[in-house]
Symmetry: none
DNA sequence: ATAGCAATACCCAGTTTGGGTCATAGGCCG
DNA sequence: CGGCCTATGACCCAAACTGGGTATTGCTAT
């Protein structure tokens, strides 16, 4: 399958696509080629109020899309939820994944199954400074998905996402701004903020005065546009400026 | 290749590995299976002062590793640089990628080529809350890499990274105690805290009094053992109680 | 029915935050 | 050498947070 000329040409077609229509047709082709029926690719954002340069393309039925929009399923999409903290693709439904879902997630999953989404394969896409997203292939038949198509689906989905990102960015005229850069000292106070330390404690730990720690923090806030402390924590983790292990380390 | 039993068993072996030695042997096997000679997988961090729970494994020669450490190449690694803002894997060297490199990058790339890294394939790995990383396969022969192995390499690298992450995390002792459970209201105030809202703003948004929002937050803090607000944000994101998309979305 | 829990609401004293502004010292670079 | 950046330190002050309380309402499970 992967050795085939057809597979190579589908990948190339994503990069050659000039607009959403071209992407859609290529995806339709790919979905059929891989043996699935449905596809969806896009960012995990508020679909009723999508941010600039975000995108979402699928061949889901209008009935299901109506339900998703009307019931606001996209805010608690179980498949999107399972993408959190994950790089490798995953086939669903799978028992040990279902354990992580809450009531609302399961309800949505059941509604989807009624609408012919019995099983599928989803590829998460995370990139620093961008909205998380994913690419999903689904079938109306229940039962296990053939494992040998997964590498091809994973590979193709990644390139498809890459191609659509570029298209969406150039269409939006950005250039998303890259996350700010920080000095070593600034990164240190960021970690300490995430550990819940006060300015006085930071000063103690770093061997500097309370006011100096305060000053470093002020510059960090300013770099992010004077956002609030807690929002900063979420941002630096998301932007890859700090990692969970460092921030959550006991001390 | 991908259909082969051997490929499946290599993937499984990564998840079954109990320590770095097991990972190393499995990677050696995978590298040979894919037709490469060298492999390297790990986080893009300061190797002289690696953060907790970060990892790096490779079968590079000690001569090259010495040079990398001594000359601090890892701070300006051209391959790591090309991973920025990219999800799909990439084969190198490739002319349109080289354009993005600066002098120092090219110098390091040339030094690597002298040390037998003529061409390769690199898979970037980005995950919110973690350092970016990558997995590289390389060969001492110049010339184009056969395209048909790339999907297998991409797929296997993703699962390998996933398996090593889990190993490194449990070794770092994170995520041992099960996270507390929260009510819907509590989850709402958690999200609002992560968005930098004050108690008064939370009350406004939720249609309750400032003091009620305060009360919900107090119970959340208590559930985590009266930790500080900012530390809470890092914890709930790590524990999967809230996700980056819901916390960072504009509203 | 009654005990438990979630959600609501209010009080309060002490601490912390997050904006300013200002100043000095050292390092690096052209 | 001068300019720029970083790290350091200091002061001010209104607003917000923190962590104790108490108390009512309504729902649910035993």
């Amino acid at each position: 399958m992967i050795q085939s000329q057809e597979f190579q040409s589908i990948i190339q077609a994503f990069y050659d696509a000039k607009d959403e229509q071209g992407i859609y047709e290529t995806f339709d082709h790919l979905t059929y080629f891989l043996g699935f029926k449905y596809f969806a690719i896009g960012h995990h954002v508020d679909l009723l109020n999508p941010p600039i340069a975000s995108f979402g393309i699928s061949n889901y039925s209008s009935g299901w899309l109506n339900e998703v929009f009307h019931e606001r399923y996209f805010m608690d999409d179980p498949i999107h939820f399972l993408c959190n903290g994950r790089h490798a693709g995953f086939a669903w439904p799978e028992s040990h994944l279902l354990n992580r879902l809450n009531e609302r997630h399961r309800h949505i999953l059941e509604r989807g199954a009624l609408r012919n989404f019995q099983s599928g394969y989803t590829i998460p896409v995370h990139l620093p400074g961008e909205y998380s997203g994913s690419c999903t292939f689904a079938t109306p038949t229940s039962g296990t998905i053939a494992h040998n198509v997964l590498p091809a689906a994973f590979f193709a989905a990644s390139h498809a996402f890459e191609a659509i990102r570029r298209l969406a960015r150039t269409a939006a005229g950005l250039g998303l701004e890259p996350p700010p850069q920080f000095t070593d000292r600034q990164r240190e106070v960021i970690l300490l903020m995430g550990q819940g330390k006060t300015y006085a404690e930071m000063g103690m730990i770093l061997g500097i005065s309370r006011e100096t720690a305060h000053q470093h923090c002020k510059l960090v806030f300013r770099a992010y546009g004077n956002i609030q402390r807690c929002n900063l924590i979420a941002r630096v983790l998301y932007d890859g400026i700090a990692s969970f292990p460092e921030m959550l380390r006991k001390q």
